[in-house]
Symmetry: C2
């Protein structure tokens, strides 16, 4: 089984593999927030690409998470902070979600064999799933407006490292590069990230506590998986 890392949703067609598990990653913050919402009891997350679609759902009475360029959209119930999705707000609800990058990545890869959501906080659950399925893995980094982002690539490297221990083939250039970056960063991910763009973007919005949470490995158990257009916890 081969592991490949696709560094932007705009490159997905060059890595597309219909027989593979796609692991969608948007560390800051959509994939972390989706994990948090589901382990806190949300029934499902309905990812939508546009603000307009999200507003239609809102008018129908759905709870809606909506973010663009770091900020929560005015009409929405939640932004893109994992701390927004507390049990008292989300339990037993379906939540419609649209974010700058993460939901776009889900959209381009939704026809894969299976689509799961990966984040540092549920890393072990992602590894367990890949181990049980024994098939190719494409790690799809959401990036920032289709540009490369370091935090998603570091997560990819962490996952590549663990899959390598399970005898997955990690010789693809992008897997090798992601692993190399992770090896440099893993002793102090927070310090490594501190030099980068999105950190500065989040810092401006006073979100450093969220960065810490988003970089915390294995805080939760649970695997968000796409089923019939809705992301639910895998049973």
């Amino acid at each position: 089984m081969k592991v490949e890392v696709c560094l932007s949703p705009a490159l997905y067609s060059f890595y597309e593999n219909r027989d593979a598990i796609v692991v969608v990653v948007d560390i800051f913050r959509a994939s972390t927030s989706i994990c948090a919402a589901l382990v806190n009891g949300a029934k499902g997350i309905i990812p939508v690409a546009s603000i307009e679609e999200a507003k239609v759902y809102k008018a129908q009475g759905f709870l809606v998470g909506a973010e663009r360029n770091v900020a929560k959209c005015d009409f929405a119930d939640f932004g893109n902070s994992p701390f927004d999705y507390t049990p008292d707000h989300v339990k037993d609800h379906d939540i419609v979600l649209t974010t700058t990058n993460g939901t776009q990545a889900i959209n381009v890869s939704k026809d894969a064999h299976s689509l799961v959501i990966g984040s540092f906080i549920n890393l072990a659950s992602v590894v367990d799933y890949c181990k049980s399925e024994q098939r190719d893995v494409v790690i799809l980094c959401s990036g920032w407006n289709n540009r490369f982002s370091i935090e998603d690539t570091l997560f990819a490297g962490a996952l590549v490292e663990l899959l390598s221990d399970l005898d997955f083939d990690i010789t693809t250039d992008s897997s090798f590069a992601a692993l190399s970056l992770w090896e440099q960063a893993k002793s102090e991910p927070f310090l490594f990230i501190a030099k980068t763009e999105h950190y500065q973007r989040l810092k401006k919005h006073n979100l450093l506590d969220q960065i810490n949470f988003c970089l915390s490995i294995d805080m939760v158990r649970g695997l968000p998986i796409l089923k019939n257009g809705k992301i639910v916890l895998k049973e």
Copy 2:
């Protein structure tokens, strides 16, 4: 002045900056071959995207370099080896060139303020030009069929390192990542590359001597630059 690294021609629109110098990189092997041909006395290189265009030029009497998937095309005078472009073959000739990746990267970025060709063998000349121009730099990695490639990214990291010493802003995530990879690789680039895809591809074709040459820093002085659709040595 900002330095950005664009990791694939397919991502160029997200990094496009009409006021920038674009440094097109295809270490294995188009950008290295273009440098070799020009310093060996070729008058100019006419990059074309398709085999069909190259054949039209060939019929008109031009010398043609043409490669697809590592191999020289049958109809062509040269393949994509820097060793093909010797002074006795190229001196005072215009050469039409089409390759799997490099000429595609030139094609997408040809409207930049200036487009130059970067390779390890002419690295110092690229740095000198960026220093003299004092404007933003976009390093465009040709990749492999629009996929990420490690050798182009390592060159980007080497260039980022030198531009950082000249007070260029290198805080973009992709510049930071390329630099981090280069820092890991630079003591032994050949060994680092040996784990990767394109190395294996070239090794299969018995091209290891070319890899060595393509990774040799500052073998030549000279800067290929695009002028009116033709790549010539900058005066």
